[in-house]
């Protein structure tokens, strides 16, 4: 039988690119979380920098706007002592007629060691990973509706710091599941790490077809969906989707699916609330909850730096062998 080679792994099954959570082992995910734990201590020192990636060049290649993902990647690379270039490619670059492959070759000629790629099309980081030469790594910083694996890992890290045993958890993911690459990556990560109960909560129009096949349950009532949950992950309601009449209005969504202190009572009393940001206060989450003790939204941002440091140093380390 032909075994499909996972593009992310080298012959010794070490991580060489980080494109998607799918196909990775529990050992690899746990290793990332353990490394991130060590990198957290670097952020607490006077000099928040280690020399691991000294002399390496990291290119942030963003085809789609992003603030927190790009800045945390940039900060993570800088804390590893890498040189960082930020390239935002908008429509104008491609309108000059240069193809993606040519753009890449140009950047590679500048001796880049790693590309951090965000793209509006699913599969673009994988396409790039197939193009780059052998010592170069690619990290997916979000592609279309497909995946956002570093966000999933930082959420796993945040969960583990508060609820250390994945095997005991009930996790509810609430909001626009259909358009969310974060939701997809999170579901895969939670599954691989052994979370026994994963629920998605959203109106029918925002649930992708056949999502139950991933081994999760689907709920359309928020109180039912988050009942006895240990972790509630709220997703950003992508307002631009409202135009396509998938939803009536933001306030109506809030009335039915918004996380309020009343709804949150259905979850366990010590439940934690997460959100990948940016948050829409009063649409998917009530301000009082977003700013409450149960909310880990700002901790997620801080953890994002350590987790991205861990992933970058692992893939660059393995790619240079």
């Amino acid at each position: 039988m032909m075994v499909k080679q996972n593009l992310q792994l080298d012959a010794a099954r070490r991580l060489k690119h980080f494109l998607s959570i799918e196909g990775l082992s529990k050992t690899i995910l746990t290793n990332i979380l353990d490394h991130a734990e060590t990198f957290t201590s670097v952020g607490e020192r006077t000099v928040k920098k280690v020399p691991l990636l000294r002399g390496k060049t990291v290119v942030n290649l963003f085809f789609e706007a992003s603030t927190r993902t790009r800045t945390t990647f940039e900060l993570a690379a800088k804390r590893l002592s890498a040189d960082v270039m930020n390239i935002n490619i908008d429509a104008s670059a491609t309108s000059k007629g240069e193809s993606l492959a040519d753009t890449l070759r140009t950047l590679e000629a500048m001796q880049a060691d790693m590309f951090i790629v965000r793209h509006q099309d699913s599969g673009a980081p994988e396409f790039i990973a197939r193009q780059v030469s052998s010592g170069v790594s690619v990290i997916n910083a979000g592609d279309g509706r497909h995946a956002h694996p570093t966000q999933a890992m930082l959420d796993m890290f945040t969960i583990r710091r508060h609820k250390p045993i994945f095997e005991n958890l009930t996790v509810a993911i609430v909001g626009d599941i259909k358009h969310s690459r974060v939701a997809r990556s999170e579901i895969h990560a939670l599954k691989i790490l052994g979370v026994p109960e994963i629920r998605v909560v959203a109106p029918k129009t925002l649930i992708p077809a056949e999502i139950e096949k991933l081994g999760i349950s689907v709920h359309h009532d928020i109180q039912q969906g988050i009942e006895d949950a240990d972790v509630v992950v709220m997703l950003r309601l992508q307002k631009e989707r409202m135009r396509s009449a998938l939803l009536p209005s933001g306030s109506e969504f809030f009335n039915t699916y918004g996380l309020t202190s009343k709804n949150l009572k259905a979850a366990k009393p010590d439940a934690i609330v997460m959100h990948p940001g940016p948050i829409n206060r009063g649409i998917e989450i009530d301000s009082a909850i977003a700013d409450s003790k149960q909310s880990l939204i700002l901790e997620q941002v801080a953890n994002g730096i350590a987790v991205r440091m861990a992933i970058m140093s692992l893939v660059v380390g393995n790619a240079s062998l």
């Binding site: 070490r14 353990d34 490394h35 734990e37 060590t38 957290t40 201590s41 670097v42 020192r45 006077t46 000099v47 920098k49 280690v50 020399p51 691991l52 140093s313 692992l314 380390g317 393995n318 240079s320 062998l321």
Partner: protein, 170 residues
């Protein structure tokens, strides 16, 4: 790998403590800080601090991010993160490791220490200094100097009891 010889750790520890007492006799105990290098150095540092009845906290250093062989072997498997429970600035540091060999670990450790601050001084304490130095680094306090060939290794097992073994590639 075959175990060739086991060394008397208690005797080596006593020797180190005796020498160290002399070495630090002019230093204000409040300005002392012990730092063990993971993993063996932490065990030894704890023993020494206990023996000398110095209540100074023992810091732990994990030099994985400062090693010079990243491009050869990638990121090291992580042990615990570094933890220095005291201010490095203005302190006399006693840097403790189990074995001094090439000197590269000590180089990495000193680089890391300076990312925490500027100590007044750093002294190097090791249980064993073996032959094979590749950098101009020498121990200030050392239990014993031994000559080993390339195929021979010293390894500290622990933490309770501490056991030093000399092994030979078979």
């Amino acid at each position: 790998m075959t175990i060739h010889e086991t060394l008397d750790t208690t005797k080596l520890l006593n020797e180190v403590c005796e020498q160290l007492k002399g070495h630090i006799r002019h230093i204000d105990p409040n300005k002392l800080g012990f730092i063990g290098i993971h993993t063996g150095g932490v065990w030894v540092a704890n023993k020494i601090a206990e023996e000398l009845e110095l209540k100074a906290n023992v810091g732990e250093l994990n030099i994985a991010f400062y090693r010079d062989d990243f491009s050869k072997i990638g990121v090291h498997p992580t042990v615990k993160p570094s933890q220095l429970p005291f201010e490095v600035n203005g302190r006399h540091l006693i840097l403790v490791d189990d074995i001094l060999h090439t000197g590269r670990t000590v180089r990495a450790a000193m680089n890391e220490i300076f990312d925490y601050g500027r100590p007044l001084s750093i002294s190097l304490v090791v249980l064993i200094a073996r032959s094979g130095r590749e950098l101009p680094i020498h121990a200030d306090v050392c239990g014993a100097d031994i000559n080993l060939s390339k195929g021979e290794h010293v390894k500290l097992k622990g933490p309770e009891p501490l056991r030093l073994e000399i092994c030979r590639d078979s």
